[in-house]
Symmetry: C2
Subunit: 130 residues, 2 copies
């Protein structure tokens, strides 16, 4: 998997989040790999059922703040795994997030998501896009 | 790589941290994979030089609080990548941390570390050790 493929899938993840599109969110999460998810302030979620239930809850919550992201940096950990780190803006709060993508059925899918509050986010401008 | 191998390496990571053993810490980080590291409150560190410099700074800091960890859960993301999630106790603060291990030279090495403050850690008791 190329880093660019994972970065593109990372954009799809945040688009699904922003548009509250549960089907797109479901598509982007790994189906074979045992997934892990750490939402800010939540206990660790392990396994696809619990993770997708959390997304249904978040995406259907009318109080959920809009989300945007910036500052993408990625790293190919090995030939089939890419980690993408970026900053999230959720309402007035900044988070730092890692999304680890694995290759499944020829496309990158998220196997691990961790987002946590970030005390000192970098300025909101693209860091790695030329 | 088996999950158990990564969990064992995860213990070695925290032992190196607790004992402020910079050589052991150096040994546990990937040498080929491009590493990423998110310490709590730090900007993203990318690349082995910056990451190891951060550990030299942390491990040589006389004010660094003792560290302990618990609540290990792991997931084999694919055949050569295992994510280990656990909770860290640093001084009086609880963190949630992810360490992603890749296979290098026949052993698991950390390619990604993210630790962040955790508002509601689970009770401090082994979760996954039978």
């Amino acid at each position: 998997m190329q880093r660019e493929e994972a970065e593109f899938a990372n954009e799809a993840f945040y688009l699904a989040f922003a548009e509250k599109d549960i089907q797109a969110m479901d598509n982007i999460w790994a189906k074979s790999a045992p997934v892990l998810c750490l939402h800010p302030g939540w206990p660790l979620l392990s396994g696809r059922d619990d993770v997708m239930e959390s997304w249904r809850s978040i995406l259907s919550n009318p109080s959920q703040q809009p989300i945007d992201f910036y500052g993408v940096q990625s790293s190919a950990l090995n030939s089939s795994t890419v980690a993408v780190v970026c900053y999230e803006l959720v309402g007035g709060s900044a988070m730092v997030a890692t999304n680890v993508f694995v290759q499944e059925d020829g496309q990158p899918r998220i196997a691990l998501h961790q987002a946590g509050f970030c005390g000192n986010p970098p300025p909101n401008q693209p860091l790695n896009r030329g």
